[in-house]
Symmetry: D2
Subunit: 497 residues, 4 copies
């Protein structure tokens, strides 16, 4: 019998069960629990709570706000096992992968601990004669985050710790596929001392999203998800006067240069392509080999390496990756492999018929390697979001870069080479926001910012890091001149004391 | 017989005269010249020129780009008289006011000269073991600016020097009311050494604007104008995936505290309210006096001070301000004074029937002072954009601040006081982006950024200064690890030299 | 029977008892324990340990170094009571005062947690054509800190957390008056995960100091103490090629303007003058009243307020302050009061004959207020470092500022006023490094930097905060161009794989 | 008959001829002019002038100070030919080399134009509840620069533009070998609008230097010269309480890796080793070849390339370099070549007996290449400061780096390689402050900072760029809280207006 996952509003769990939806365990292929779906009223209650908490929270010194984040970090570390278990159960990712996700989330909390440093304005003495001017990064008010199923803990922690430490109150609308982990995070943050109302979690579907987007009290929206939804959110949020950053899909290419250290490259690609079943917006899903010699070596070594990959349930840490998120998604991934085959590509390693013993109803897809993929194939154009690595063969680095620059997305990319000039030319001229040199998953560390180019990000500020601080604050500029003063000049002796 | 003001495309003036519009001399009330109105084709030609110039320009070192701005500053100073004359002739502002406008524009050019400093990224050694990570602020590509009639030189220079020095190519669509000055600026910048195509000017109306907004090659749009248009531009530009900052209208209040140095305040307000006929988005159009004693003193001193104001033609520098921009605008301003009167406010000084000898057809409105204005009057709600100062009377500083915070706009505001705590409380809690303490026009200097709050700015980055650099660049983050190297370890001796 | 307080070298407490010195409990006036005095050999052993630990520590990613500081903060909070007790026992300060000291130390640890942000270098793409340049803030090596008796926990924590998180190895030579707290801090930091050798503590006297100053392996020295010693340390350290920042004495003045909120000022001054028995380099020891009216009011209110001050032993938290550090220091403080009296000043409140019941041998001096002090008196020229507040009377703000600017020291100062212009004029023109506006102890928060002017600081970088990062790192600038590459251009196909 | 080069004090050239010294034309080997040698009185007059100018200059807004630098840049460009001629005549460097020197100087002026940006302090709102805190970078006062003969224009411009734009008044003591160019620079800066007294030039010898170092009114000293003098200046200046940065000698090594592009390397080394006759602190004077194959290739190609080098008089721009500075210096350089030969090194190309037709008395030394140099040779240990390139042969990159790290100096260094990992390992671990990757003269651009390590720089802040701003300003931190205010709360209605 399942319990319902509720909302977290004004410091308390609210179990609003008028509308609910099933949450699955993707390894078992069974319903694990149910999640409440917020009505417009519930969302408005959360916003009202945030609005009420705002005046006091914005006036709390940044150092005090930061100290709650210091304590939150401690609690995250103490509750590491529980959080990873929640992630594994509802998402399917293996515990070591969940631990990695959590760690990246904690890094963002650590960055938020630096709020007093990050919120410094700029002070100009004598901007004019006896005129001083300075900037303040003031809190915005109520801001919201809408986050995807693939990182139920990390992506929310890209957003709310920084938004909150900047003095804002936050509404989190996590994915309804795996709501338990984000709810627990909110509880921990309150345990760390956050005043009620500063962070509210509402679970829900489009109704909740629309309620957020339409409410005038919400001043900013951060979103991570697929490109069509990202574009919709961005258009709707900006049209209602909000600031918005909306991160969308990706198709991340690695270029293998003839001088690459091939063993190293294969080793790196294995995790980058198949980790978390490829359900990462930074997953490496296309390898472009420059020259057939490199391509042949890659295919051979990769095929061998893929033999040892283990697929299965999250709490067996011998496994390398788990199921995909839903039955429908499993079918979609398999469909893309079918279509690549139909379009003439070679399925070198085929993960379509994988069965995992004891988990026969689980949504598993095995690691798949496809050779001779062409730019016009559907499997190339779309973001598959599964454990599928496609190989393309080109004659030159220029051709490889052209492929990448022509693609709709521009999230991450990588080159494998030993050559300084190739690396520099690539990073300078590639139309992608996050670039790796021999690093296949170039996710910026928490003290830099995360953002793709082209249709991978809508907005002008990237997520978290320095751009996150800009996004979650608004600039106020003060210009000050004091008129000549009786007090200073001695007239003040007559001043009534 | 008038000459046609053309476009500036690919380094040359293009006299495309298929569609034209009259440009008036507002002091004479006569047609001064005509301006070409660009067709969609003309706009696309300009964009194509910019697109072509981009690859080389983005690769030009920032220091070299900055040196063109150093030279541009020299040319602006050498051509000061000519530029001021163009401004006066087509806008009506007095030469000393035009010189002030130009000077604020030059300050933005000076700031742009610091490009090598401003474009520094952040470098993190050992982001992980032997992994380095850094950010680059890369050029965006083709970007556009759409600018208003009231600062034909300054507002374009808020935009194009910084955009260009950041490695972008720029399309300027200035106001069709006074196109000569911006066209001349573009010519000077080319004289300073700018490669052709890097800055293009297209004159035009809604057709040109729509062509810019709809073109996928334009990556960013900066706009300054009225709020309804700003909102439209922002919604349309963001919906087509561009980044956009759109600055709109204003209603800037000054609070006069009982302890203010009243002579100083009156002196400051005179220029802030009536300078440039009040046609400034930072004009001080409302004074809120705290206590009747302050209000009475203000009215009395202001009435006296206004006697000496001189209104007339731009090239007589004894004049304090000139005409408003058009006949229609003159009527609109007078209409607001009428409506205030009808609504029960007192017209203390009445500028409605002003006649300027020798310029009887000019669009003049005299300086006007209105007392006992109430929040529900139309004259209070709207941005009048004329030489009209309205006085409101309140009992407390809190009431004064509430008025400001309740208004639709949040561009600029000011308080007159000698008291440190009043100033700090005001600047902290007022919902306005640019705040003056005894400074009635708190326009941030060029090395800070300009931006209002609420419906005065759409977007998350302010204009010019540090925010301008962010707006005109996009972040790229590189993460780099070098695999162990034969060269370093000595295997390299066998290396083919 | 007393135990000996040893050193902490290479991760272990070293009980080197060849030379020792008594450590007193100043409230009891009795020996509390003994401290080992390091020989030159012991110091060199510590330096050798640090030197050995350096290569691995400098290569540890800043994020990992920072995480040890996160854990150190937790341990400091868990051990708050023990640390405060150690401070109270050997220094005499009341537990609430000790808690305040510890809290300021923890703030510096919190700042150090931001190391990844603080250590960012600056990256310039295209410093020349295809030439990039960036700066790194590299670790220096072995650095040392020599710290005073008055803040046995805080001043060391101004230094070692930041130095260590910047990748350096640290030798701490704390005051031999109260060595137990710093030793315990070192143990906690190792408990937090610091590798052995990265922090070593050597107790000792001039022999230890000289060994540090003369050792070529020590690259930088931070010192806090009296001005004559600071000057000696600075001269000696720089002559041996080290970088050095040496903070010395102070004589901090507050100006009371006629418009000051006198109740607030008195309330603030009480703690600032007498807290910690005035044994603070930021203690407020002189009040300059502008006008006799202000002076008379100040004297009257201060006299009344001082009635309620309680002096006694550290673990009775009803007490306001405790004894001074030694018998000799007690005599020195009393001597200055005597000399002021002899020079003609009025002893308004006299703390010379204070007896504390049950602690008759304790080194107590009661809170003392002296009026009509003159600039030529010895009690004015010297830093008394006791609970003595001297009042001077002047006719104007200019006279008050002249007094301050003429004094040898320039550590901290403060003005009490409500007037914006007086405050701005004061802060602009006063020759003092740390300035308070209605804040009597303007100690910069941990994310700003601490440093006096004139003979209060020798060196060009202040302590802790942003300047601390500069002091504990050395700049390396890399300029990079890659020659055109066979790999990129395709020659690479022939490359031996 | 020669004219005397005087001083520039209080805005005027002072021709104080009591003591003079010959200035030579090194190509002719004849006296070109004479320079006045300042007495202590003359230096004190200059300091007094600076002291007098300081109060007004520090209060001049940074933007206004910067505008004088904008104008100074224009004048430098207009007077380029004259300055280069002065440099060539008294130093001997060829006009194109002089133009390069001037250009690097101008870059520092361009950087100084950014003063309003560079002088921003940090502003922290709510450092505590209702407490704000910010930092100001205040001017120091009178500061001095002592500069060497080898860059008579550039090195002074590393110092005075930045010092002055930071609000200081400057005393320049240039080399007495070539005083005409710096004197002319001072005149140009005054022509640009600098108030008199803000920059003073005193020519002189040790007497002038000592007068500067001993004067208490001088608050900071920047020095560039040889290491023994640098150390003396640093010790003396710091002992008298001044801040000091003293840049000394160098021995800059290039490592040639086996994979280097040898043609490119040779081409680069030619200029880096022999340009300006090797009289540069960043001259590349040692090449360390890894492997005999690389060494042999290097020697062969370098020998060939050196054939085409032309040596002669400055105003024939076909020449590559000119004479060394004095007869004595010529003898010293030749002596080092002799000693290398005596110690067993091979003189591959010998420049000792060079005669230049028409300039038989000139102080010429031809380009010299020496192979098989060993670490214990005098010619290796010392800084030769002549057109002499020494080659060392090692077996591995580690050996090459060990050589560099063992050398007394740590100014500049460079590696030639195509390999990313070799470059990264080198730049990370080499004990040198300025590192080139395929860039033989890694002089940081003006918006980074110049500073060597080890005995190449005494002090903790590098020259020019961001560190220069720190060096020429002192931090003031203000902490502000306003007590609750009658004015804000309405009591103020009774306020006397």
């Amino acid at each position: 019998m399942t319990q319902i996952v509720g909302h977290f509003i004004d410091g308390e769990v609210v179990e609003d069960s008028s509308r609910t939806q099933d949450v699955f365990d993707p390894a078992l292929g069974e319903v694990a629990t149910q999640v409440a779906l917020a009505s417009k009223d519930t969302v408005e209650m959360a916003i009202a709570s945030a609005q009420k908490a705002f005046p006091e929270w914005r006036n709390t010194p940044p150092l005090k706000r930061a100290r709650i984040m210091f304590r939150f970090k401690e609690l995250l570390e103490e509750n590491r096992d529980k959080i990873c278990h929640l992630l594994g159960k509802e998402h399917g990712k293996i515990l070591h992968d969940a631990a990695g996700e959590l760690q990246r989330g904690i890094e963002n909390v650590e960055y938020a601990c630096g709020a007093p440093e990050l919120l410094k304005g700029e002070y100009s003495k004598n901007a004019g004669p006896n005129v001083d001017s300075w900037s303040e990064l003031q809190s915005i008010g109520v801001v919201a985050g809408i986050t995807p199923f693939n990182f139920p803990a990390m992506v929310p922690m890209w957003m709310f710790p920084l938004a909150i430490v900047c003095g804002n109150c936050f509404i989190l609308k996590p994915s309804e596929r795996n709501p338990s982990a984000p709810l627990f995070l909110a509880q921990l943050l309150h345990q760390a001392g956050l005043p009620k109302g500063v962070l509210n979690v509402v679970n829900g579907d489009k109704q909740a999203v629309d309620a957020i987007l339409e409410d005038k009290r919400v001043k900013a929206v951060s979103f991570v998800g697929s490109t069509p939804i990202a574009e919709h959110i961005y258009t709707k949020a900006t049209a209602s006067g909000k600031r918005c950053q909306a991160l969308g899909g990706a198709k991340n290419h690695a270029i293998i240069m003839p001088d690459a250290d091939m063993d190293n490259a294969v080793n790196q690609l294995l995790g980058a392509a198949f980790g978390s079943s490829g359900e990462r917006c930074m997953a490496l899903s296309v390898v472009v080999a420059v020259g057939d010699k490199a391509a042949d070596a890659l295919i051979e070594k990769m095929t061998t390496a893929m033999q040892s990959l283990k697929v299965g349930v999250f709490d067996n840490t011998d496994n390398d990756f788990g199921p995909v998120i839903t039955k429908q998604h499993q079918e979609k991934v398999v469909g893309y492999i079918d279509s690549a085959e139909a379009d003439g590509a070679q399925i070198v390693v085929d993960g379509r018929d994988l069965k995992v013993e004891g988990y026969e109803k689980g949504y598993f897809v095995g690691a798949t390697l496809i050779d001779n993929v062409q730019a016009e194939m559907d499997s190339y154009k779309a973001e598959i979001f599964g454990p599928v690595l496609q190989v393309m063969r080109v004659e030159s680095m220029e051709q490889a870069m052209q492929l990448i620059n022509d693609h709709e997305y521009g999230n991450g990319t990588c080159i494998f080479t030993r050559d300084g000039e190739a690396a520099r030319y690539f990073s300078d001229n590639i139309e992608v926001g996050m670039v790796g040199i021999n690093v296949p998953l170039p996710v910026p560390v928490a003290y830099h910012s995360f953002g793709g180019w082209k249709r991978s990000l809508f907005g002008d500020l990237s997520a978290y890091g320095p751009d996150g601080v800009k996004f979650y604050t608004k600039r106020k500029t003060i210009t000050q001149r004091w008129p000549s003063s009786g007090v200073r000049e001695g007239a003040s002796f007559a001043f009534p004391s």
